[in-house]
Symmetry: C4
């Protein structure tokens, strides 16, 4: 590996050197600009007024992304590992649309594929992953993942049963046309969103809606309780010391432990 | 009890053997398909287009459920214990509709009773009950049940009083036609759902609505606080054993401790 | 105080004897029936259909409440203490309406004053106060009361500033006619109720609305955090032992304390 | 610094003397009245009816604020420090509008600048800052600030991706006209506000909306968990001191402990 390649790798793939950090932030800014452009292009008034400017900005960003993509392939020893990685595919998908649009044309389709560029936003997440706070958050969330999934599964079953019930009671008259729609309404209600495009009109339907709402209001406590307990544990440190028994390698000790609770030998001699 | 019956019992009622686990999962899949079918049949466009396919799928599922029901009766020593259990009745109720529909006809009524098949979804819950996470969730919920019921009771009383007040202030003009309806609106508002089909229009009504909303926003903390505290306790249980060191009387030990962390002597001899 | 009066006092004012508990529950049932009656009377269709039955039920309940009121005055040694207590006034206010209505007539006014009977529902709260769970809830709420009030005050200030801003941006065109109305909308939005009767239509208004919503979604954590911490403390008991230093009367000791942390003497000799 | 100036400073800038506290409360009352006036003036019916009274009240308050502003400049040794402080600028901005309005006229603009007076409300916050509860709240919030910002950033990215998706699926037909609008809708939905002015109508759009709602319902647990854990820590601080017994090295002591609870020796000699 030649020295320039090693340097390039350090700048592009790492963030420990000033140059590496500058590269990361520069790419971040370009991504945010490109995302903002896609958003603004979707506003038809803006698109009509500034069609020409959008066109140029489009190609500048495509050029930057293309150069970045090529540099990333050059800078790595085994390019295949990058090309077929998640971020490699995202980078390619967010660069191609402009070229495809240029070759095949077609304004509507063009826009849909250009929105793929938004996938780049995941790279922002990748950078923020370096932040300690975000790592703690992810840890607490991952630990409570299983419990939250079981909870959401229970919520779904409640919605299926309540949705069917509402469909039978309210009927197609007041918007509860079929069971999937009624389940959709149940989710809207249980999560306390409440759009109001569909709302019960019969007394019995309203009674059941009340029960669903109070249920939703009550069980919102469950995911909160799960995550709270997890955060408390993470921050509590009652067991977060680095004592390791020199005899049996047991790692979990109370903070004031003097003897290993597993083999009975002294911990710190 | 003959050997084949013992084997059958093991497969159908238990989930420790590979065969038993396979049977459970297979039934689970059939239940989910049957639930999806009931849902899709309720969409009138789909029902018209695929009437014939629905009819066949209906009878296949009915056949599977009938066979399962018969097998469950055969496989158990005291069939009555199964037949009159909660799941026995649910199984029967979810099998009968198709037969009743076949004999008596009547499309609308037919659908309503076919929805009974959704009750089968409880069997899914029964299976998930094996998951440790779900058991912990239920435990924490059951422990905080009494507190949550008292809380919901207080919420109901607030809604009754506030509903009556809103009915007197807003009157029938803006949708608060009678007290039950006003109470329904109060529940919609306090639980922060807010459909918007009924909304206050007088200044005084809006002032009281604001108070209700802020109350709802504030007291949502109560069930959450209850469940959080319960979860914290449950997860702190790692230290909640009754082991006491017979030598130094130290009481705080990790659940899997074998030696006292204070004096190094064996805990349970 | 004669013996019959003593007995009567025990039945009416206390709940330790079977007779006393029966009296409490009986009154509770009558209150719930009377509340249900007031609710149903407000539904004009029901009132027209069952006018005669409502009239009779009305007078039966009035009679029961009148007898109870007289008994309560007789059974107590110092009647004034009851008559001018909160529950004494509520009892009188919930008995009078029927008599007033009988003497002066006037259907509309009649109903409004009859709704005063709902105040009786507070007596239900009084009975539930005996429940231990409810007592714990009230304790945790009372302890976090000051923090929650400060929080709600901050919420109100946010709503006043954001409401004024929205009024200036959106203007009377889209429903933000004046500042109080805009503040009402802010409260509806911040508490995540979201009726939808008023909604921003300008891009800037929607941007600020987004900020308000995310603020509301984020700061709902504050009251929850307050109450959760309070519940955890109440249930934690890390300091909830009953050790009292025999030398200096200090009451707060760690659970594993052997010497008083205040005077240095041994705790349990 | 002459004696009268010292006294004036004590009254105006401090709140330890009865006079100082009275001055603070008096200004607080005037601010609340002026805020209420601005609110009421925005209601056009009230403005038309009481135009004359509003005009007088306006000038009385302006006079009080002007006098207060002059006194504050006189009472301080280095007036520049007050004039260019946050509250100095707020005080000036909330006094000027009436004078500007008097000189230049223009009813509509006049109102907009008069609303600047609402900035005075921050002074109320300054006074409440003396309250211990509010200080604890701010402390817990500031500590969890970083985590909450990371969380809100993640929420924003979810909304950008989901909003683009909804725009592509629902299209301009049902209100999802452009990406910024769709993102606005996503924020409305994820925060469980749910106005209902825009709502999905296609089955796929409703499916994704359901996922967004359940996500919002589930992740509301995250900020709550963060703040709860912080509050718990803050209230657990009773044990978070760095006292170590010089005799037995015991580290866990109550904050006001003077003797070691483990060996009974004095802690800080």
């Amino acid at each position: 590996m030649p020295r320039w390649k090693f340097k390039l790798h350090e700048v592009i793939y790492e963030a420990d050197t000033p140059a590496g950090r500058f590269f990361d932030i520069a790419i971040l800014v370009v991504i945010i600009i490109s995302v903002a452009l896609v958003m603004m292009e979707s506003v038809s008034e803006l698109l009509m007024k500034y069609a020409w400017q959008f066109y140029i900005a489009e190609w500048i960003i495509t050029a930057i992304f293309t150069i970045e993509y090529i540099l990333r392939i050059i800078a790595i020893n085994k390019p295949k590992r990058y090309i077929f990685s998640f971020y490699g595919i995202v980078d390619l998908l967010s660069t191609l649309p402009s070229y495809i649009g240029f070759i095949f044309g077609g304004a509507n389709l063009l826009f849909a594929i250009r929105a793929l560029r938004l996938l780049r936003i995941f790279r922002v997440l990748k950078i923020t992953r370096y932040l300690g706070e975000s790592r703690k958050l992810m840890l607490a969330l991952r630990k409570s993942q299983a419990k939250i999934l079981v909870f959401l599964f229970a919520v779904l079953i409640i919605c299926i049963i309540a949705g069917t019930l509402m469909h039978l009671i309210e009927g197609p008259g007041s918007g509860f046309d079929n069971i999937p729609l009624s389940i959709y309404w149940c989710i809207v209600t249980l999560t306390t969103v409440g759009f109001g495009d569909i709302a019960p009109v019969t007394p019995l339907g309203r009674l059941i809606a009340s029960v669903i709402m109070i249920t939703g209001y009550g069980i919102i406590a469950v995911p909160t309780g799960i995550v709270s307990a997890e955060f408390s544990k993470t921050s509590e440190k009652a067991l977060n010391n680095t004592q390791v028994c020199p005899y049996c390698n047991e790692k979990e000790h109370l903070n004031d432990a003097e003897y290993c609770h597993n083999c009975g030998n002294k911990l710190n001699e």
